[in-house]
């Protein structure tokens, strides 16, 4: 049985990775699972300059989901390469560096800095960030801004380049296409959906940042739909994520067209979620007698329904 998939030039032993920002730099969950079993480790979003992040509360639970407004707190690329990457190099699992900036230049420097490092196997651009230079337009919701930043980063790295799309758009298919045409090797679908919870007693937003990103099972039907929509528009691989809690959820994404999947919020609920997803996918392939996971990807059938 083959579980291995390719994302650009990168080969993963299985299609299950961690979602950025939900797995730190790998250390914390190494106490719970064997990191060698993962398809890839995607680390917390990095920037050239370290970021302090937002005041608290930064997280709040919502029905079958959670909002987070961490504010991209991170130690900066330099400290990551020096203090965190050596630990990750001990494992055979490829490391994908998620990064961001607030200008095209910052994205480019971040990509350059990360590309040189031994043990960084691919880059994932988080484009759900506002462009400081262009009136705080979010890169990921404006096709032009996105094209510009992806093209610039594409020139700056030879590593496989994954563009992580924002779901806060009218057409995910169009944005995926722009990413493809701008040189991305793959797209991740999807980042969190902007949401908000109000403390009605105090009449203030619960999160100090006011809004936050919605993740978890609540958004899964939206994420599966977006993967399926994008799959019809592009030919580069899709990494699917959004509310995956178990193997069955992951299979929905694969069948909809995702080449790989990422497990995010589920790690918080179940520190062994990633490993259980990998095992569950294996069992499914056995049960269904599918020898190669690549035969499952995008295998959704549209059948006309009998009227019951």
């Amino acid at each position: 049985m083959n579980l291995s998939v390719k994302i650009g030039s990168l080969t993963l032993k299985n299609p299950v990775m961690t979602a950025s920002g939900t797995f730190g730099y790998g250390e914390e969950y190494s106490e719970f699972i064997d990191l060698d079993r993962l398809g890839a480790i995607v680390v917390k979003g990095l920037s050239v300059v370290p970021r302090e992040g937002n005041p608290t509360p930064r997280v709040v639970e919502t029905p079958s989901g959670m909002l987070n407004a961490i504010g991209l707190q991170n130690i900066g690329i330099e400290a990551f390469l020096r203090d965190k990457l050596p630990f990750l190099r001990r494992f055979s699992t490829p490391v994908i560096a998620n990064f961001f900036g607030d200008s095209v230049e910052e994205y480019v420097s971040a990509a350059e800095q990360l590309s040189g490092a031994e043990g960084v196997h691919a880059l994932e651009m988080n484009i759900s960030c506002p462009n400081k230079q262009a009136g705080w337009i979010v890169f990921g919701t404006d096709p032009k801004a996105m094209e510009q930043v992806v093209r610039a980063v594409r020139k700056a790295t030879t590593l496989p380049l994954i563009v992580k799309l924002s779901p806060n758009v009218t057409s995910i298919g169009r944005m995926a296409k722009v990413a493809e045409e701008s040189g991305a090797d793959a797209v991740s679908i999807m980042n969190t959906i902007t949401g908000m919870v109000i403390d009605v007693k105090r009449r203030i937003p619960v999160l100090a940042n006011c809004t936050g990103g919605l993740s978890g099972p609540a958004i899964r039907p939206i994420a599966v739909r977006m993967v399926w929509e994008a799959y019809k528009c592009i030919s580069i691989p899709i990494i699917g994520m959004g509310g995956i809690m178990n193997a069955q959820d992951a299979l929905e994404f694969l069948i909809a067209g995702a080449r790989a999947v990422a497990v995010g919020t589920a790690n918080f609920v179940n520190p062994s979620a990633t490993v259980e997803v990998i095992e569950g996918i294996g069992h499914y392939l056995l049960d269904e007698e599918i020898p190669d996971i690549n035969d499952l990807i995008g295998s959704l059938k549209m059948v006309p329904r009998m009227q019951s």
Partner: protein, 252 residues
């Protein structure tokens, strides 16, 4: 040793109107917890509630873990529905610990904060001067247990239904003001407003003061950066570098 496992509800009952005591029997051997550490407990059986909730270890005996908690919102309401024989997934022990007290010490508990402090008191019986604040007498749960292990118990309630009427930090301030000897180290756990008040009370004093903080948590293991607190050296994770912090390090 696994820090994520299944446990069975051994006993679960009300100890007062809004407080329940939950005793769990983990099905695998778990790490030995230290005073001040906490566990993330599964709060429901489906994806609503979704996240586990953090609770201080209240007591450890005969291979069981007990938690004392107040029913507040959705998560604790849901937790309260688990019954004997049900299974609950548990992550822990997590976080740091109260530093080992040298000699006598002062403990300041606000409400359910006693849950976290009791294991410290039990570890060093007869050495704690406990200042215990609560909304009312009814919320002073575990009074007998506390009396057995503390050297002294000073009580304040908001409504005066037990001890002094008022806030416990005022009583503490009076005590500290009267003391001429070097001040005993302080260990505190309670609602953030109480800890802030404590901060004010000890600000100008020569005293070591350790506080156990609460923050909204998603992961409990240091991965999400959801639970930070501002310290003199930047944001620190309450679940990992805490929950116990030296008051001096807090950028309050």
């Amino acid at each position: 040793m696994p820090r994520y496992c299944n446990a069975v509800v051994d006993e679960h009952g009300f100890v007062s109107r809004h407080f329940k005591l939950l005793r769990l029997r983990p099905l695998s051997e778990m790490q030995e917890p230290k005073a001040g550490q906490f566990y993330m407990l599964q709060a429901g059986a489906t994806s609503d509630p979704l996240l586990k909730r953090p609770f201080s270890l209240f007591k450890r005996e005969d291979g069981t873990l007990s938690f004392l908690y107040r029913i507040r919102g959705k998560g604790t309401q849901s937790l309260a529905r688990f019954r004997q024989g049900d299974s609950i997934r548990v992550i822990g022990p997590l976080g740091n610990r109260y530093p080992v007290p040298q000699g006598d010490f002062i403990a300041v508990a606000g409400g359910i904060g006693i849950a976290s402090l009791l294991s410290l008191l039990e570890g060093y019986p007869g050495r704690a001067h406990l200042f215990h604040g609560a909304r009312s007498a009814e919320e002073l749960v575990m009074g007998e247990e506390v009396k057995r292990v503390a050297k002294e118990v000073i009580i304040a309630t908001d409504d005066g239904s037990a001890g002094m009427r008022g806030v416990v930090t005022d009583l503490l301030a009076v005590r500290l003001g009267m003391t001429t000897e070097p001040l005993l180290p302080i260990y505190a756990c309670g609602p953030t407003p109480m800890l802030r008040e404590l901060h004010r009370v000890v600000a100008d004093k020569e005293v070591r003061c350790h506080v156990s903080l609460e923050e909204h948590m998603a992961c409990g293991v240091g991965a999400c950066l959801g639970c930070v607190v501002k310290t003199t050296s930047g944001y620190r994770r309450v679940c990992k570098e805490g929950p116990v912090f030296d008051m001096k390090e807090l950028a309050w």
